[in-house]
Symmetry: C2
Subunit: 241 residues, 2 copies
């Protein structure tokens, strides 16, 4: 499998004072709700697209920032996407979360342009919302068309992560959902299961109601750029040292 | 000092087959010449700006890729800026280089748009050229105006790096040059020595002839975004763990 790349950069404002909680093992978990507007330019023109992302910060960093952050604070986040599975009432569930590695509050000042939403939450204009991913496709790309005839491609990406834990090197795989629109979607349609690709894009949220009536959320990557990686006789990357 | 962030992402084409050499200590060093066109949108409209960057890859990765790359190959590079000093004929010299941490050849194919320059070198259109930096200003920002009246701000940035070497944690500081234009330059003019800032921008090269008649080159970051970080009672980041 191609080496994994899994980086997320966000700049937005906190919609609320973050909640601190502790795992049963005593680890601090800080949940941040970050909001921003992306300026997106494509074939259809320039639009401002709002986003709301929940970001988790763990451990020492969470404790450091737990009491210092208020609603409206502009923040820079460097992080990654984390795939997580669990069981609830005998059913297997999975989710993709944004995990912050580092957090840096920005000085807002007069230059900070914001908009207020219907719930009174402050959203930063000209936010930053970027993901860079490298992995292998978990299935052939599915190309569909919206009722208006706009092509949209969906693909699954398996991103390898190698961390040094207490028991030596540990391997984890993050299963992520990627979509592409228009020209990029049509190009992507030829990509096949197993192919290694580079994805650059924005994080977007989607929600739907499950068959049991529950609201479900998914974090996807909306690709602005997709590149096929070469395999070059097994050389394509190799795992990160 | 605020924690350092030092990341560079490039996508471009190789202008030549890379040169491999070895340090006196036996470490492989691969020098890559990468070229691309950035699509830059600002107050003056949209322009395609060419760039040529030299990228160094060291050690095991250099040996892995040494024989596999040819001129014209599209590449993705994840790396950082490295500040280096040395002495030559009793004079102290310094340079900023682009150091690749990882290299991934892309499959070009029919979608790869390129232009050929006057020397017959192939340059990728719609390249990627992004730097994300966090550090402290080494001096007050200097604001000047071009003969046409365009504001340009120059600043020095000290970026901390903490690596785990054989003798434990090692600290290094990279001294980088950053510039900003127009509105961003005028805003930046109020930044003072010592302030922690976040810089997002493109890598650009500048060259001039020294007093001794030699051609000198410098790699600068042209900021597209600048943000003041808060210090928040000494909490601003702290070094990376």
């Amino acid at each position: 499998m191609a080496r994994g790349l899994n980086r997320v950069y966000l700049i937005g404002t906190l919609t609320a004072r973050p909640d601190m909680r502790y795992t049963p093992g005593g680890m601090a978990v800080l949940e941040l709700n970050l909001a921003g507007n992306d300026l997106v330019q494509d074939e259809t023109g320039t639009r401002e697209i709002p986003w709301y992302h929940r970001v988790k910060l763990l451990g020492r960093q969470a404790e450091m920032w737990g009491d210092a952050l208020e609603a409206g604070q502009p923040l820079f986040v460097e992080g990654r996407l984390e795939y997580r599975t669990w069981e609830t009432e005998g059913q297997k569930r999975s989710a993709v979360e944004i995990r912050a590695d580092f957090l840096d509050p920005l000085q807002g000042g007069a230059r900070l342009e914001t908009v207020e939403d219907a719930r009174g939450q402050v959203r930063m204009r000209n936010a930053l919302n970027q993901a860079l991913l490298m992995g292998n496709l978990t299935r052939d790309v599915e190309l569909r068309y919206t009722p208006q005839g706009t092509p949209v491609a969906r693909m699954g990406l398996a991103v390898n992560e190698r961390t040094r834990g207490q028991g030596g090197a540990e391997e984890r795989t993050h299963f992520l959902e990627v979509q592409a629109w228009r020209d990029l979607a049509e190009w992507a349609a030829e990509l096949r299961k197993g192919e290694p690709v580079l994805v650059i894009g924005r994080l977007v949220n989607d929600s739907w109601t499950s068959s049991t009536g529950e609201r479900r959320y998914i974090t996807r990557v909306e690709a602005t750029r997709l590149e096929r990686l070469t395999r070059g006789s097994g050389q394509a990357g190799g795992p990160r040292p």
